[in-house]
Amino acid sequence: MTDTVIRTESLTKIFEKGKKREVVALDKVSIEINRGEVFGLLGPNGAGKTTLIRILIGLLTPTAGNAWVLGCDVTQDIDYIRERVSLLPQEAGIYDRLTARENLVYYGGLYGIPDDDLHNRADRLLDTVGLREKEDYQVKGFSGGMKRKVLVARALIIEPEIVFMDEPTTGVDTIGARVVRNVLKKLSSEQKRTIILTTHDLNEVAELCDRVGILNEGNLVAVGKPSELEEQFKAADLEEVFMGLVTGEGVYGQ
């Protein structure tokens, strides 16, 4: 029996509701994500991916519908949820006057992780992302890719049950992106962590994701395993499915 860790029912989010600038960011989205899954959220810019993540992590309140994370209602038990989930935001910044290690330890400290444990975890994660040698350098001198690696490590320092990663490999070079992907694979396969991943790199999706959900203009237009979607929409690959659903081009569009 699968263990559902995220569930939404007709989740709707409308910004500036009733005003001239009203925007429907999410429109009755219903989705289920299981423990240990790597779930890819796909969609063009402005499709509602970040809004969905922000609702699930309690940064935004839904206009209508319901959402549960780890069995808890996001509007009721957000503290419980936040202790167990982690977020790597899309435009995540970093404290550049702190060192790589200090960034990790600080973030873990905010979650109340004991000091010794925190440093052990930091050692392990810095090794994993290949920044152990630079751990005592202030981050302000790091390249964009190195900063992104620190951010990935930071998101994992609390050993979350669910990790929301909004474009984790953006700006990272090919080798760095490979490192990040390997970390995510390991998290999923060995530690059974649930990963919600948004990305524009469909190869990454194909490599990492067990299932994907495609959002377009706030609507969830498709959910399933990449191979199932390809079969369902009679497409050669996931890109064709995506393009067909979002722009009307390709096999599905025809």
């Binding site: 936040r82 910044g93 404290y95 973030y107 905010l110």
Partner: protein
């Protein structure tokens, strides 16, 4: 919360320019004031002054001295030598309206001839640099006149000073401490919230299992820890300023020197009080800054708005503090002045230094400032809870 405070303090202490500013601004303010005062004294000491004189002595020496002063008015930089009666002089002393009053007493010649020693009385307003310099010149000149004529005779000049309502040092401390304390946290509060948003670190901070109020309080505490550095250097600045006054006072007659030092220096026993008052001002200024920072889009905007909001009322009450009690104003303006939390810092400090405040009024001032800070923190927390802060 401790982790957040530690991170804030650590980050800020690595911001060299911010730290430089917090160290230099109080030192500069006080050292500049010391140097400025020296400059003003040097300038005004060479300007002519009106001198009031009373000749009660009918003997030869009183007349000799009077005539000598009258004939050397240009040398002594006396603009006008105005004759006044003793009662007129006493009235001017009582009303604090005179600059220098030279009183040649009734028995001046008699004492000089009987005991080779007599006393000339000089009243001076030491709050007036020109008057102090004029009194010094008359002191030296009178001794020269009497001692040159009859070498064994000795003239003593007794100086009396007119006490102002509050010492200059005291008024200055209130003004400078308030102005600079209000402005000091601005760069910190600017970067603490608007800066987090600008650097895209806010979102990750808001998803940690901490209440927003805790985040605000942690930022407030970190700001206070940081600005303590500023407070410490304020104390050092005050000590340097006091030292510059003492150096300048050397050369004045001993009794005048004591008075002069007392007038212009900041009383050392008041320093802990100034420290406490500064803390209250900082709490209020940071609380206001937090609200501004929660609303502002970026750090530069936050700092600009913060400075704009704080500078005008602070300047108004800072200048009012120099003109007398800020409680003297009535009507809408009086209410406006009292609504400004920093007014209560001035009232508190003035009340304690002058010894006229009741414990209830002092407590009222402290509570007003704390309540003001609390209200702003609650407003800040509400603003912080808005979705708009992210969306």
């Amino acid at each position: 919360m401790i982790w957040l405070i530690k991170k804030e303090v650590k980050s800020l202490f690595r911001s060299r320019w911010l730290i430089f500013g917090l160290i230099v601004s109080p030192l500069f303010a006080w050292m500049f004031e010391g140097a400025f005062l020296s400059f003003v004294v040097a300038q005004t000491s060479a300007e002519p002054e009106t001198v009031y004189i009373t000749l009660d002595d009918e003997g030869i020496w009183g007349n000799t001295l009077y005539s000598a002063i009258e004939s050397e008015m240009d040398t002594l930089l006396i603009e006008q030598l105005l004759n006044v009666t003793r009662s007129e002089g006493d009235n001017m002393v009582a009303n604090r309206t005179l600059s220098v009053w030279v009183l040649i007493p009734e028995n001046f010649t008699q004492e000089l001839e009987a005991a080779n020693r007599s006393t000339l009385v000089v009243w001076v307003n030491t709050g007036n640099f020109r008057a102090t310099a004029a009194a010094q010149r008359i002191d030296a000149f009178a001794k020269q006149v009497i001692n040159e004529i009859v070498i064994i005779r000795d003239l003593r000049v007794d100086w009396y000073t007119i006490t102002p309502e509050a010492t200059y040092g005291h008024s200055l401390a209130v003004f400078l401490v308030m102005i600079v304390s209000v402005m000091a946290p601005s760069p910190y509060v600017g970067q603490s919230f608007a800066g987090e948003r600008e650097k895209h670190t806010l979102e990750a901070l808001l998803v940690v299992p901490m209440s927003r109020v805790s985040i605000l309080i942690a930022k407030l505490i970190a700001g206070l820890v940081l600005t303590m550095l500023y407070s410490i250097f304020t104390v050092i600045g005050i000590l340097i300023y006091n030292w510059s006054i003492v150096v300048r006072a050397v050369g004045l007659p001993p009794e005048v020197m004591d008075y002069y030092i007392n007038l212009y220096t900041v009383n050392s026993s008041a320093i802990p009080l100034i420290f406490f008052c500064q803390l209250l001002i900082l709490i209020c200024a940071i609380s206001i800054g937090i609200v501004v920072s929660s609303l502002a889009r970026d750090q530069a905007t936050a700092e600009s708005i913060n400075n704009l909001i704080l500078l005008i009322p602070t300047m108004v009450i800072g200048i009012l503090g120099f003109t007398g009690s800020i409680l003297q104003y009535g009507g809408v303006f009086g209410v406006f002045v009292l609504a400004i939390p920093f007014s209560h810092a001035i009232l508190f400090l003035n009340g304690v230094l002058s010894g006229v405040a009741t414990p209830a009024s002092l407590l009222g001032n402290v509570l007003y400032m704390l309540a003001f800070a609390m209200v702003f923190l609650v407003i800040g927390a509400k603003l912080f809870e808005r979705e708009a802060i992210i969306a």
